[in-house]
């Protein structure tokens, strides 16, 4: 349990009741814009967001991205194809939305796209919304890194309310960021090397793992994200009674 959760409960003792962190959000209008860069199956992410009560739109239309408060950038496969899809108008729309106070969550390849560059199949520039570069994990361990691994050193951050250093998440990847400023690292994982599994700076954040496949811990993170993006009370599993 994080300190933030406790102080929030103390601040509004009469208005807050606990709800399962994986239960749908109480608020009736929680939108999420899933940016579809045409890179494979995003169905399970959409299903998870809908399960949490979000109204999900799936798009790569710049005007829709521009108008969103809550952006999610998924991705599976390789770095370069979605990078090229985003280059130009979709990327400019994402930046403009962020300048207006929108939040952005990148997942897996969508997470890697947030950094300065990737070395997968030669160096490709990223969106440079987070500092660091994406490199291949070292040998000596099975690659790709597939399965449940522990994320430790979790920071005090809205995404991670209710999280502990014992939580495991589901990973499928061979590359991961390095050279990330320490103050942006929100949680680390170990596979061959220690790498930032969750990174956040300002209203941009991302996870190398798939929260939509990480059971209760993953759903809690997504729920926290929706609450953070929409500035709802109690992203940590508390909901405002009577809303």
């Amino acid at each position: 349990m994080t300190g933030a959760a406790t102080s929030r409960e103390r601040g509004h003792p009469a208005r807050i009741r606990r709800a399962p962190a994986t239960a749908p959000l109480a608020s009736s209008r929680v939108g999420a814009t899933v940016i579809d860069a045409g890179v494979g199956n995003i169905g399970n992410l959409v299903r998870a967001l809908r399960h949490l009560g979000a109204e999900v739109e799936i798009t790569c239309d710049p005007a829709t991205i521009r108008a969103s408060r809550c952006l999610v950038l998924p991705g599976v496969g390789a770095f370069r194809p979605p990078r090229e899809v985003l280059r130009g108008a979709p990327e400019e729309a994402m930046r403009a939305a962020l300048d207006d106070g929108a939040t952005l969550l990148g997942i897996c390849i969508g997470y890697q796209l947030l950094f300065d560059s990737s070395e997968e199949f030669g160096t490709t520039d990223g969106l440079a919304l987070l500092g660091g570069r994406v490199t291949e994990l070292p040998g000596g361990v099975p690659l790709p890194h597939i399965g449940w691994n522990r994320v430790f050193g979790v920071a005090d951050h809205p995404l991670l309310e209710g999280s502990t250093d014992d939580d495991h998440y589901y990973f499928v990847h061979s590359f991961a960021p390095e050279g990330v400023p320490e103050e942006s690292v929100l949680g680390r994982c170990r596979h061959g090397r220690s790498f930032p599994a969750i990174t956040g700076h300002g209203r941009v954040a991302g996870t190398q793992f798939h929260p939509e496949k990480s059971g209760a811990a993953g759903l809690r993170l997504l729920r926290n994200y929706l609450a953070w993006a929409h500035e709802l009370e109690g992203g940590n599993g508390a909901t405002a009674a009577g809303d």
Partner: protein, 270 residues
């Protein structure tokens, strides 16, 4: 301080297996005498809440009857269960695989179709990635009497009814070369007996496989599960002990977690 740091925090996985026939969970002994064990979505949701690391569905009617896997229960399950879902049975083409993945499956189990057409493994891996492709191998022990050569296992298909003449260990090696990202290895001799996994088979398969081997067939006690992990298997799959509530997933993980890295889900229902 010189504490040994493991190079990875990856955990061993505990996987309840749901054999599905006509949209219902079933279980039999050596694929015969099937009994009803309820709705697949409800069972998967219950196991996920207990802390299952993955759910494997095997549509055991799909291959013998040559009908498509019913996708509706896959869709319903994916809407409620947010851990990796592997679905096998009836995947005979890239289109079959695509339909299953769109319905919400994360992994495709390929068994009979891969024996009939090994190139299917490669096509699926190239299209969806090896992490999606699970080669499911049903192995039957053949004591052929060749002194000193040890036991030999033959690949059987169609729910154990059809011998193939393939050596199981050689087939596993070929399947990995062709693109399988994981091996689900079932001992047909042990399946449903609750007398323990075929440890010799698992030991040999784990030694030769660079990809994860999932132990399947024969789990009856907690010690059986530990024995299987001791062979080097990355995951243990079980059905009867979970369906008959001999052990909860949580109890299994608590036991195995004393000896192996295991994901303990905080707040899991018991």
């Amino acid at each position: 301080m010189r504490a040994t740091i493991e190079p990875t925090g990856l955990t061993r996985r505990i996987i309840p297996c749901l054999d599905v026939a006509a949209g219902r969970v079933v279980k039999g002994v050596q694929f015969k005498n099937l009994t009803d064990h309820g709705d697949p979505t409800e069972a998967a949701a219950r196991y996920a809440a207990e802390g299952a690391d993955e759910i494997v569905f095997l549509d055991i009617t799909a291959a013998p009857e040559r009908r498509d896997t019913d996708l509706d229960w896959v869709r319903r399950t994916a809407e409620q269960v947010f851990i990796p879902l592997s679905v096998g049975g009836g995947v005979r083409s890239v289109d079959d695989g695509r339909n299953l993945l769109l319905a919400g499956a994360d992994k495709l189990g390929i068994n009979t179709a891969a024996v009939a057409e090994p190139e299917l493994l490669t096509r699926l891996a190239e299209r969806f990635g090896s992490q999606c492709v699970v080669l499911s191998v049903d192995a039957k022990r053949r004591d052929d009497g060749t002194a000193g050569n040890g036991p030999v296992w033959e690949v059987v298909t169609h729910g154990g009814r059809t011998p193939t003449g393939l050596d199981a260990l050689e087939w596993i090696e070929e399947g990995i070369e062709r693109g399988a990202g994981e091996i689900l290895l079932t001992s047909i001799d042990s399946d449903g007996t609750k007398e323990g996994y075929d440890l010799e088979l698992l030991r040999r398969a784990s030694a030769l496989s660079p990809v994860p081997v999932i132990a399947s067939g024969g789990a009856g006690t907690l010690e059986h599960l530990a024995d299987a992990l001791e062979t080097g298997a990355a995951a243990v799959l079980a059905a009867s002990i979970f369906h008959q509530e001999t052990y909860s997933v949580g109890a299994v993980k608590e036991y195995l977690g004393r000896r192996y890295p295991i994901r303990i889900q905080t707040g899991a229902s018991r």
